[in-house]
Amino acid sequence: MEYVIEMLNIRKEFNGFVANDNITLQLKKGEIHALLGENGAGKSTLMNVLFGLYQPEQGEIRVKGKPVNISNPNIANDLGIGMVHQHFMLVDTFTVTENIILGREITSAGKIDIKKAEQQVREISERYGLSVDPQAKISDISVGMQQRVEILKTLYRGAEILIFDEPTAVLTPQEIKELIQIMKTLIKEGKSIILITHKLKEIMEVSDRCTVIRKGKGIGTVTVSETNPNELASLMVGREVVFKTDKKEATPKQEVLEIKDLVVKDTRGVTVVNGLNLSVRAGEIVGIAGVDGNGQSEFIEAITGLRKADSGSVKLYGKELINHTPRQITESGVGHIPQDRHKHGLVLNFPIGENMVLQTYNKKPFSKNGILNFGEIYKKAKTLISEFDVRTPSEYTLARALSGGNQQKAIIGREVDRNPDLLIAAQPTRGLDVGAIEFIHKRLIEQRDNGKGVLLVSFELDEIMNVSDRIAVIYEGKIVAVVNPKETTEQELGLLMAGSNRKEAGEATNV
């Protein structure tokens, strides 16, 4: 079998830190090859070596059997290697076509021949089944379509080998299905794909082979059809991983949170939460299932005080909290793990220790008469860091320098430590690896077992099914159904999330 890419015994160091140690990856023509590893295992480093952004200290790269020296991304492009970045590299105010041809413009007499370019984009998009509107502005199209533009960009430049960097992290379940279809079409058209991911389900579904790296070391390459998710997970983490989260039966008590007829507008003034009713009891986890864009973000922002609600009532143990300030809500006993940890959860330029007291800096013992007590602050931080297994060189390290999973553990530590009556977790495991996910799920269940209410919002159905005691399905800003995870199926939930009513959904899955 012919290899289109061979990365042999690659070693890459940064100031003495070994990011890649003797890693070998061989990509066959026409295969989807998964690259699996935890956050910070060295996947991105390896791909940046292949893409010419980093130079390896040792090892050899061969393209179609010939040794090559990829010293910058242009050379990678010329060799037919294209990268679909996790964070899209697109100009928001340009059209789809303009973005695709950027840097490779077809000109006639100094003017860009946009008609011809649009024609070419159309041709490529039809050939590979990537439906896009060449004239649409990037800012007006969905995330899924933006990703297709990224893919088209690489194909337009003649890529034969496509690297997908965590492509599903930003997509809805429907968009993920479409993407998988696209990848299969690309293979049929003779392309080869490297898929960087830590989602085992996707690997099982699309890839042919899988190379696992752990802490910078190559663990090996396995054929996907001969393995199973458990084996992959233990290869990646280096120990057994429990998938089904272990938990006792919930013993719900009195009502902690009661939401009635909540109405919230989004930034554009469109009503996106439209008469939402929900209750969370002490000692239970209520999961909110729904497709992205059905008002989840605005709902959470409204009940945490980050966004003004138009009407309705939000009561915590009977105390009205609607349109109170975030501080009032926090101090009434609400913990909030925000959806976007970089935007809301952390001040990235502060040391991780100072982030641990982001809400409590003005309380004793962290300050007295308006003067901060750094001794107490860092003492607290140190305890939380060890208790919640936040891996950081020290409590003085800037939050920016930590990996996503450790940043998230720090936030969870901070929120759980305040011992809130209600813990709101919005997509708490987004972008994290299985080890971190397992840890976070355990902590949520622990809160529940301590008699606290937990409200979990997630786009991952697996997570909702696994962790929740009750599932509330949100559709177009309303809770359309509340189901018991033991008595429902993914299909039923999927239909409810798509707007079918309970009865229809039940019948459809029974057939």
Binding site: G345, V347, L372
Partner: protein
């Protein structure tokens, strides 16, 4: 820990290299235009440190620079660009002099009152753009620039029509409101050195303490780095934006008092801006927006400004060339990114 050290070293090395590059390019320019750089820099040095009188003048010169630099730096740390330090400086100057000429009180009351008037005037002048930013998201750069012109012409109007009857000078303040000190003048061979330098040093300490050691400073820094996270954590973002502008303006107003109660002891009608407020931007930039950094970079600016006065006399180098050299230093500081890149390369090679 070692990385931390080299980072700190780099942040000290960067402005020093910027200054050296400015001097080198200045040398080249002087060689090209036919002046003797050695004589010129010797003249600069003598003009700043050659006599005790000059040293007194240097300190007098950098006193308002410290405060203007603190004003810019403080707002910057909270994520705001206060270009209006010049205007806040002018209203502070006028307010101090006004109190100085309008009342006749015992010194223990009169001097603090005049200083407080300057602080209040600068704070009020900065409160307006702060409020507009917090309330209506009007960009503070535009508003503060425009407020500079308003400050200049309103001050001139008040001097002409309210404080005097069509005069162009407020006349001297009462001796009870002056910052001047016979003692300081006598030990510096009768320079205009005044007590203001103590206020400037105290202000540096206040800025450091407020930002780094208090809960209020924690909020201000949080807002400066990440407004969304500050809001999430329950801080009042708008209140902190306004507060930071007010404190920034207070420093600027105090800088005005240095001129009004110390150096000049009067306020005159001005044809244009004094430039102190704008130099404050450069001082803050060179000082890395920290209190200590501002202190040292203000000293450098004071040395260059006062020493330069001697360059035409002793070396025949025109004043304009000195301005060019100062501008070059600021240019190299502003492009300090380039210097950092070189330092990074250099330190990487050393590791290998």
């Amino acid at each position: 820990m070692k990385q931390q050290m080299s980072k700190r070293l780099k942040s000290i090395l960067t402005p020093i290299i910027a200054v050296l590059l400015g001097i080198i390019v200045g040398t080249i320019i002087m060689l090209f235009s036919g002046y003797n750089p050695v004589a010129a820099y010797t003249a600069l040095w003598n003009g700043a440190f050659g006599e005790i009188y000059y040293i007194g003048e240097v300190i007098r010169q950098f006193t308002p620079y410290i405060l203007a630099g603190l004003a810019v730096a403080f707002a910057f740390r909270v994520g705001l660009f206060n270009i209006g330090v010049e205007g806040q400086f002018l209203v502070g100057w006028l307010a101090a002099v006004w109190v100085g000429v309008a009342f006749d009180l015992p010194r223990v009351i009169h001097l603090p009152l005049a200083i407080l008037a300057a602080i209040a005037a600068g704070a009020l002048w900065a409160f307006i753009p702060g409020l507009l930013k917090a309330r209506f998201r009007v960009h503070e750069v535009i508003v503060t620039i425009m407020m500079n012109y308003v400050a200049l012409h309103v001050s001139n109007y008040l001097i002409r029509n309210v404080i005097t009857d069509h005069g162009d000078n407020s006349g001297p303040i009462h001796k009870s409101a002056t910052l001047r000190s016979g003692f300081l003048e006598s030990i510096t061979d009768y320079s205009r050195l005044h007590w203001g330098i103590l206020l400037a040093i105290i202000s540096c300490f206040i800025m450091w303490f407020l930002l780094e050691r208090t809960t209020r400073g924690f909020e201000l820094r949080s807002v400066g780095f990440n407004q969304h996270a500050a809001q999430y954590a329950g801080m009042n973002v708008n209140k902190n934006i306004i507060l930071s502008m007010v404190i920034s303006g207070a420093f600027a107003g105090l800088a005005g008092a240095m001129e009004g109660l110390g150096t000049f002891e009067y306020a005159a009608v001005k044809g244009g801006f004094s430039g102190v407020g704008f130099d404050g931007i450069a001082v803050a930039l060179l000082g890395g927006n920290t209190a200590l950094g501002v202190f040292f970079s203000a000293i450098l600016f004071g040395v260059l400004k006062v020493g330069a006065l001697n360059m035409p006399l002793e070396a025949g180098v025109p004043n304009e060339l000195v301005d060019i050299i100062i501008a070059l230093i600021v240019f190299f500081v502003a492009s300090s990114y380039i210097i950092r890149v070189f330092l990074d390369r250099f330190s990487k090679k050393e590791v290998k």
